[in-house]
């Protein structure tokens, strides 16, 4: 039982990191980015390619994060200039396109990805620590830096921010870039366990969406907690109840949310 909970937390850490990325994007630009998981997958491929070319893991990692930041900011330029529903469909187009590109470039063959953490139940502490560190870092950047202040200003009222001279487009790009970094963390965390292949983030995206929705797509702490809880719930449901129940956990969470949180979610912007 304890072992299963640990494994659930390991899976949940991946969901949490991806949910964090979803929350960041939505909070700062009002878009739910369905392509977040695929961007994370590509980040993992980039890291793999760098390691494969002979770079050390700890050198490849920051390079990958920088690439993810750039890719996220680029995607923002493309997506968020549209009305809300068009932007959402745009992210779905991005999801399809990125997935197809990865399929073309790297094929569906399995690739082994280096794992910096030891195996076994204790190895779970690694991913958890990474997610905690990312969360803390984001908190520091957003709460205590000048860029973070403008980010929050734009999130609170884009029009007022623009009137007071903030370059809203650049700030949005910054938000997407940060989110892509959080997503890349989830990709790099999941790749050693599931093996690298274009479909590897498929299951994680649903769980991350459910976790992010639990925080109203606005609250990073709830999203992270939700991701961890969904990971544990999936594992326990799969082990002690009905194996097929795993896929139902995110859906059940999503359907229960309006009942549990009531009007609390209504403030979610469309």
């Amino acid at each position: 039982m304890i072992g299963q909970v640990f494994h659930g937390l390991g899976t949940g850490a991946v969901y949490a990191a991806l949910a964090l990325a979803l929350v960041l994007v939505h909070r700062f630009t009002g878009v739910v980015n369905f392509a977040q998981g695929e961007l994370a997958m590509v980040s993992a491929y980039v890291a793999w390619q760098l390691v494969d070319a002979g770079l050390s893991y700890w050198l490849a990692l920051p390079l990958t994060m920088a690439a993810a930041f750039a890719a996220g900011a680029l995607a923002q330029r493309l997506v968020t200039r549209r009305a809300a529903d068009a932007a959402l469909i745009m992210t779905i187009g991005l999801y399809v396109l990125v997935h197809a590109l990865a399929d073309q470039i790297w094929t569906s063959a399995l690739r082994a990805f280096p794992n910096p953490f030891p195996a076994g139940p204790l190895g779970v502490a690694g991913p958890l620590a990474v997610v905690g560190a990312v969360l803390a870092l984001l908190y520091l950047v957003i709460r205590h830096s000048g860029a973070g202040l403008t980010l929050r200003a734009v999130a609170a009222d884009p029009r007022a921010a623009r009137l007071s001279g903030v370059r809203v487009g650049r700030v949005h790009a910054l938000g997407w870039g940060l989110a892509a970094v959080a997503g890349a963390v989830s990709g790099v965390l999941v790749a050693p366990v599931v093996f690298l292949e274009p479909g590897m983030m498929g299951g994680a995206l649903v769980a991350a969406l459910a976790a992010a929705a639990a925080g109203g797509f606005a609250d990073p702490v709830t999203a992270v907690a939700g991701g961890l809880l969904i990971g544990v719930a999936e594992t326990l449901a799969g082990t002690y109840l009905w194996a097929d129940l795993r896929v139902l956990v995110p859906l059940a969470v999503l359907l229960a949310l309006p009942v549990v949180r009531g009007g609390g979610l209504a403030r979610v912007r469309t």
Binding site: M90, L94, L209, A210, V247, L251, L265
Partner: protein, 332 residues
């Protein structure tokens, strides 16, 4: 898409004019051409099975099947401004409902209403909690539905992962038609009925309320409309259309399997309606052609989706409307 909704009529240019039914109180006719042209179109559609060899006929039948599904999707996406990523799942549920009934010996005409009702019920079950919150939330919930349905089908439905082969509707012997010709005519009849019904739904006070909500939910609510109820009902009706289309799919292909109704299908349908043009009937038809002939979401459809949204948010239909003005070079 939501930008630039003007109520002015600009005869000649057209491209600034929103599609029929896009805004409240639109009284324009959906078929703006002479009545005899409608007759010609009907005659043309009916004569297809007698002029076309079996394989292309099968594809034309599939186009009609997807037209029904896209008409439904367009009700929420085009008129309601809500995004559903779960229509592939409702399509699959309808297809499976029909297949299970057919394989237990139920006559095929019965399967159509049952498939529609099952999908309608599911649409209500998932749509009602979802639309209370926001449009984004509906997209997320329906995405989760689309992910969860195929494994459930694989586990619970007869046939399991092997899928379920069924007999397709046989032509009554007195018509002297081949079975695939008969199925085409059946699908054509259902598609025509679905089309007519959808037109009257969109024009009804309820359909106009849906469009009004899309324009300005707050104002519409002050005018006494109940957003959650109207949207939930629209979503369920739209699921009903997807279920009907699923039933027609079973009639056409004679085989259902969970792999056919994955999230991929939902995305394909959404891509179809966006590329075809939201909020228009011709958009549904063009979208159905796209869905049939460009089946797997890949480089082409991903790129097309992004390009259409970036360059021509009104889809191929909008482009076609712009074309005459573009050629005359009197664009405004």
């Amino acid at each position: 898409m939501s930008a630039g909704v003007s109520t002015g009529h600009d005869p000649g240019t057209g491209h600034r004019r929103p599609a029929v039914g896009q805004y409240a109180g639109d009284r324009r006719r959906a078929w703006p051409y002479p009545r005899w042209s409608l007759g010609v179109a009907v005659a043309g559609a009916v004569s297809v099975p007698f002029l076309v060899p079996p394989y292309p006929l099968h594809q034309v039948t599939l186009v009609l099947v997807y037209v029904v599904a896209l008409l439904g999707l367009d009700l929420v996406a085009g008129h309601g401004g809500l995004i559903s990523l779960g229509h592939g799942a409702f399509f699959g549920v309808g297809a499976y409902a029909a297949a299970i009934l057919l394989s237990s010996g139920v006559p095929y005409p019965v399967t159509l209403p049952v498939a529609g009702l099952v999908a309608y019920g599911l649409g209500h079950a998932f749509g009602r909690p979802a639309v209370r919150l926001s449009g984004v939330y509906l997209a997320v919930v329906t995405f989760a539905v689309a992910v969860a349905v195929p494994p459930l089908i694989r586990r619970l439905a007869p046939g399991g992962a092997m899928g379920l082969p069924v007999r397709t509707p046989a032509a009554p012997s007195l018509t002297g038609l081949a079975d695939d010709q008969w199925v085409y005519l059946l699908v054509l009849a259902v598609a025509a009925a679905a089309f007519t019904l959808m037109r009257s739904v969109v024009r009804s006070s309820w359909g106009r309320a849906l469009v009004a909500l899309r324009g300005d939910a707050g104002a519409a609510e002050i005018l006494g409309m109940r957003p959650a109820a109207i949207r939930a009902h629209a979503f369920a009706c739209s699921a009903l259309y997807a279920g009907l289309a699923g039933c027609l799919f079973t009639w056409t292909t004679g085989f259902v399997a969970a792999e056919s109704f994955t999230v991929t299908l939902s995305i394909t349908l959404l891509a179809g309606i966006v590329i075809g043009g939201l909020g228009t009937v011709s958009g549904a038809v063009i979208g159905a052609v796209v869905v049939t002939f460009l089946p797997a979401p890949g480089l082409v459809s991903g790129l097309a989706l992004i390009l259409v949204l970036a360059v021509a948010p009104s889809g191929v239909t909008g482009l076609a409307r712009r074309a005459p003005a573009f050629l005359r070079k009197d664009r405004r």
